[in-house]
């Protein structure tokens, strides 16, 4: 019973990590930009949800507003900054570092560093087959699975999703067959940012919201991006659930204070022995 509970907890946390990682890996895999400011989108998404819930509209509007607001912010950032550094890894990375400083410190000034919480839509817990399950955690797990599946179907089935994948394989080739590169770039950025916003809302419904909350999910998102194979969305999702399980089993049965270290060990091992990651999309070129 204890084991099952730990596993479910791991899946829930892992799902949150995966939601962050999908955004990172989409933007990196398709556009070649390693967006360090992704974590700040998660943080802003959580604050959006806090203010919407506090104004009495409830959780579901908060989720939608959070996703739409972060998608819009992503669009603005893409138009102003990232589209000018598309082909340059290092410039894109550096620009995103600058954005971290701006967003995080403005957020600290505007929202004060005090931690905040909002009431989850499903408080309390319920009994199922002898297990005591937190309702909100199960809701988050369900929502995460829904988001991941929706994102996957969008990329696989829709016309624009196919265009995105084509661009990920070969930008020039995609342009030659008539895909509008600048439009697709914007869509990818909006999609990734909306996923970050959703992750932020779900984070906020479980944990404290502070202006500095971005670092931990971002670090996990990066670990998953490598573990899953740079640029592979299914890889990031599977790796996310695995990392959540490893963390929750590790902190339950080994040491809880080393929780954040397990992912890092996984990352080192993966780089040493499985360099292409789980679903090795873009193989690391070795010299």
């Amino acid at each position: 019973m204890d084991l099952i509970q730990t596993l479910l907890d791991g899946l829930m946390v892992g799902g949150l990590y995966a939601t962050v990682a999908i955004g990172v890996t989409l933007v990196f895999g398709i556009l070649g930009i390693l967006n360090f400011a992704h974590g700040q989108m998660v943080m802003l998404g959580a604050y959006t949800a806090f203010f919407v819930v506090s104004s009495g509209l409830g959780f579901w509007p908060a989720l939608i507003v959070g996703m739409v607001a972060m998608g819009a912010l992503g669009l603005v950032l893409e138009r102003l900054v990232f589209r000018h550094v598309l082909t340059d890894h290092m410039a894109g990375l550096t620009a995103s570092l600058g954005l971290i400083m701006v967003i995080e410190h403005l957020a600290a000034a505007a929202f004060t560093p005090d931690p905040r919480n909002f009431d989850p839509p499903l408080p309390g817990s319920f009994q199922l087959a002898g297990l005591t399950l937190s309702s909100q955690r199960m809701l988050v797990l369900g929502l995460v699975v829904l988001l991941v599946v929706a994102c996957y179907l969008f990329l696989q089935k829709t016309r624009i999703g196919k265009a995105i994948r084509a661009m990920g394989q070969n930008r020039t080739g995609a342009a030659l067959v008539g895909i509008r590169i600048s439009q697709v770039t914007a869509v990818v950025f909006v999609l990734g940012s909306a996923m970050a916003g959703a992750a932020g809302v779900l984070y906020g419904s479980l944990f404290a919201i502070t202006p500095y909350m971005a670092a931990a999910p971002l670090m996990k998102g990066f670990i998953l991006t490598v573990l899953g194979g740079l640029g592979s969305v299914p890889g990031a999702v599977v790796a996310g659930f695995l990392l959540g399980l490893a963390e929750s089993l590790g902190s339950r049965y080994l040491s809880a204070s080393f929780r954040d270290g397990y992912g890092f060990i996984l990352l080192i091992v993966a780089l040493l022995y499985f360099p292409r990651g789980l679903f090795g999309g873009r193989a690391g070129l070795r010299v």
């Binding site: 600058g98 995080e104 080192i268 780089l271 070129l285």
Partner: protein, 339 residues
């Protein structure tokens, strides 16, 4: 494209005046002389505030110079620089206060430990081209190091930080217990980093690093051990960061886990980009501008960091070569008599 008949398509080489070449050759020396003046200035001024400010700027410039070795010359994105800086501070403080070593014995020991750690982190990540792996793994490592420093209460004092109550013992007749003495310690760190940086730049190793930065595949065809070179640059740069960290502890009398945060590394990267990445003068010019402007503006620390972020983004978009890079290009063109 319009073609004009009377213009030669290949510009004939302009006659280079020897005067121009001599003046251009003097520019680096001018830089060194201004550095010497700048270094002496805080001590002569006699104001305590100026000495304090000079110490901070010297430390930051030393860090930026050491980061420039791996980022500027080798072109590898290391996000762990602040972590090694903090590692050096914590390690030397513990070696001195808990293990009873002298400061001058603790510095090489802390550097050695940092070097081993950097090799362990760097090797798995640097085996692949592109540098993205290193950025990811070093960011994760830096965050992990900060969490360890904040949570290992018995060793580091946890998030409340650690007090440091010692001054380095006198060395070569220099006394390091006064604020001026500590200023010279920081300035010495800067000079040591500069020395290593210049030595690397002029060596075969340094030219190899630049080749790796420009094209890893081509560099490997030229017989350069690409992984070895990248790893050596990362290890040297991290060891120097730890060395500067050793000086941080007695200067500030206080170490907190915030020292290891990614923001410190981001500031340093901003300094490099602004000053001119891959140049000797760039890190120092960048530090002066970065810390000078907010100091003059006298704005709150919070908004200072916002300004830092805005500067980073603007420089990446509009002046990717940085101040020193632009200056170098100007001098080169002037020397060739083009402008």
């Amino acid at each position: 494209m319009s073609t004009s008949l009377d213009m030669p398509t290949v510009p004939s080489l302009p006659r280079v005046s020897s005067m121009r070449q001599k003046v251009a050759a003097a520019v680096p020396w001018l830089g060194w002389i201004s550095l010497a003046v700048l270094l002496v200035l805080p001590v002569l001024g006699g104001s305590r505030y100026l000495v304090y400010l000079g110490t901070l700027i010297a430390l930051q410039a030393a860090l930026a110079t050491s980061l420039n070795i791996v980022m500027g010359y080798a072109g590898q994105f290391a996000m762990s620089h602040a972590a090694f800086y903090g590692f050096g501070a914590y390690a030397s403080a513990l070696l001195v206060s808990a293990a009873g070593l002298s400061f001058w014995a603790a510095v090489p020991l802390a550097m050695l430990m940092a070097g081993v750690l950097a090799a362990l982190i760097g090797y798995p990540a640097l085996r692949y081209t592109g540098g993205v792996h290193l950025a990811l793994i070093t960011f994760a490592f830096g965050e992990l190091a900060r969490l360890v420093a904040a949570n290992w209460h018995t060793l580091t004092g946890g998030p409340m930080g650690m007090r440091v109550m010692y001054a380095p013992a006198p060395l070569l007749g220099m006394d390091f217990s006064s604020s001026k003495g500590l200023y010279w310690l920081a300035a010495g760190m800067l000079l040591a980093c500069l020395l290593v940086s210049v030595a690397i730049q002029r060596s075969r190793f340094g030219r190899g690093l630049v080749a790796v930065r420009e094209d890893e595949t081509l560099a490997s065809f030229l017989g350069i051990n690409v992984v070895g070179y990248k790893l050596a640059a990362y290890v040297i740069s991290s060891m120097l960061a730890a060395m500067v960290g050793c000086a941080y502890a007695p200067i500030m009398n206080f170490i907190s886990p915030e020292l290891l945060s990614a923001h410190e590394t981001i500031s340093l990267i901003g300094v490099l980009i602004l000053g001119g990445i891959g140049t000797v003068a760039g890190p120092i010019i960048g530090t002066l501008v970065f810390f000078g402007i907010p100091e003059m503006l006298r704005v709150a620390r919070l908004y200072r960091l916002v300004i830092v972020g805005v500067i980073i983004v603007l420089v990446v978009l509009f002046m990717p070569k940085g101040v020193a890079g632009v200056l170098r290009d100007r001098v080169e063109r002037w020397k060739r008599g083009v402008a």
